[in-house]
Subunit: 362 residues, 2 copies
């Protein structure tokens, strides 16, 4: 089996066939022709002003409530610089995005994980921790969570923002997958529920492509002023050439059709993953998301992710992500994340079959 | 006089009329058409591989000795993350680039300034400091220094890298202005003299335009591996869309003509600045650089930059940069930086005339 073609169930990358190349090429022409002297020059650390205004109108906030950066992870790094001193505590979900844990550790902060349930945070566990200490910030991904593939209920969203008010902490709401709902109804974002306590981050990485590196955040204007100073001291200006090009794409009204194209591409991949799990690995407990990039599963009792990973890699040429890397304080021994968006239907079925074979071999 | 048009002698921005817009527009077409699926996707934190290879060939190093980032200030930030713990000492020139001081302070490092003379560092002062403590890194700008407009002699270059060997510290050589020599002969770079102790940073901000945010560094491959991990943890990937476009520009062989165009544009602006100083302000001591973006002057005894700044702003609508901001440990009370590249010849003469009038009014 080891000369099978490699399959990666590791990183959540978008499908390259989804990139709107022709439209971006035309957008690049227009951007350089119309704004060349601005987007080739230094500018404000907030980003390209027409893009800021477009985003503000899209999200119905004021331009001063919007800041862009070279990807939303870089924004999270700025938020950490703003909020955290070495030794401070930040809360995250358990499991959470592994790069968020890494970023917190770079800032010498303690990342404390609050367990996730199928409908959001374990609020009881959160209240117990809050009575012990109040974090400077709480990083959450309420929609189609990475890595769990779970979405918060309305009730848990409201409880979380109420606790943020009661205890006085900031929420960083990372929402890159939120626009990719394949079925069902949107819940309000945490920012919709309480704009005074929430910094809402979005990105075009999953909607247009990661290569331009354009993330943005909206939130309290005064706080974003402080973040803009940190950004200026780090790189002066984000990539205005990229921003001009993506702005021209957005301003031509092309985003809604692009999102529909992505849903039409990704929804069958999610369905194929769930069908393959039902067929090959019915004993694992899988999340069944309504959108996004990921689902996760818990292996049967007694079977560890590390054991499966090793067999999958060595015998079946299938790479899996570590389960434990998503858990800041231990756990995840039987946790597996499956990123389905970047794979064709055939590869998905074959990958899940290999995963099931590796589980059976443990 | 206060309804005169505003003149800024503040920031060192390139002339917008120098941006090669048509060539970049064509490069964008080609880049998206040839590499769209790569430059719209995530990639290595080192940057776009064809660009890395082009840079390595240009600079006659191995590709593994090259890393790109969203501007060279961001690279300096990564170097600081790699080398510095809070409380560590870094050496800089006095005066130095004000944003380098800010970056060091973000990393809670102590920035110690070694005085500059007309031909480079005051080596005697450096040796006295080295006997007291050895810095983790020494940030220098040996060619057409910002803000002084001074260039190191060959002898002082050699002394500095020899001291780096003897005492065991790393040199970060920032060289954004080095390709913009209007007359005279290049000296070897510090990296040319000792590649084992020097991280050499270059940028396309002053050669093509700042908006794409493309800086790069070359140096020890193993050290750059560690820096690449920090970069990955900060933003995953630099802006590959920008990098693909600039790569296509470079690979079409357009850089040499672009540099010649810049020299033809900027050399007369330097000459006009020097002529205006001779005419309006002969009592100030000015550096007389052979290239780059800046010259600096020392005001006559008894006249402070702050006093001149206030009068210039209020009475003559001329903005000057603070002198003291370029000095990490005090000094610069009579220091003025003049960035001449972004201004037309008329504006330069008028600006220096206003500066002289403000000096006369003190």
């Amino acid at each position: 089996m080891s000369n099978q073609e490699l399959i990666n169930f590791t990183r959540g990358v978008p499908a390259p066939e989804s990139f709107p190349l022709d439209d971006l090429s035309a957008a690049a022409q227009r951007a350089i022709s119309k704004y060349g002297r601005t987007i080739l020059q230094y500018g404000k650390s907030y980003g390209f002003r027409p893009l800021i205004e477009w985003l503000a109108e899209w999200k119905r906030v004021e331009p001063k409530q919007v800041i862009t950066a070279n990807g939303s992870l870089q924004l999270f790094d700025f938020f950490c610089s703003h909020f955290l001193q070495p030794g401070d505590v930040a809360f995250v979900e358990a499991p959470t995005y592994d790069r968020a844990i890494t970023t917190l550790r770079h800032h010498r902060a303690d990342a404390l994980g609050i367990p996730l349930q199928s409908d959001g945070l374990d609020i009881d566990a959160l209240e117990i921790e809050l009575k012990k200490r109040v974090p400077k910030l709480f990083y959450v991904i309420p929609d189609f969570q990475n890595p769990a593939g779970m979405t918060y209920s309305l009730e848990k969203r409201q409880r979380l923002v109420d606790l943020a008010d009661e205890y006085g902490f900031w929420i960083v709401e990372d929402a890159p997958y939120r626009p990719l709902r394949f079925r069902g109804e949107d819940q309000p974002s945490l920012f919709d529920l309480n704009a005074d306590r929430v910094l809402h981050m979005l990105s075009f990485s999953k909607l247009i492509g990661p290569g331009p590196r354009i993330g943005f955040a909206m939130g309290d204007a005064k706080l974003l002023q402080a973040v803009a100073r940190i950004a200026e001291d780090t790189y002066i200006t984000p990539s205005l050439l990229s921003q001009g090009i993506v702005y021209e794409f957005l301003n031509a009204g092309l985003l809604p059709a692009q999102i529909e194209k992505l849903k039409a591409l990704y929804a069958p991949r999610l369905d194929a993953t769930l069908a393959a799990l039902d067929k090959h690995l019915p004993e694992a407990q899988a999340t069944r998301p309504d959108g996004g990039f990921f689902l996760s599963l818990t292996l049967p009792q007694g079977v560890t992710t590390e054991a499966v990973r090793q067999i999958a890699r060595e015998k079946y040429n299938l790479n899996l992500a570590s389960g434990e890397a998503f858990f800041p304080n231990g756990g995840g021994e039987r946790f597996i994340r499956i990123p389905y968006c970047g794979m064709s239907l055939d590869v998905i079925d074959e990958g899940v079959a290999r995963l099931a074979a590796a589980v059976a071999d443990v």
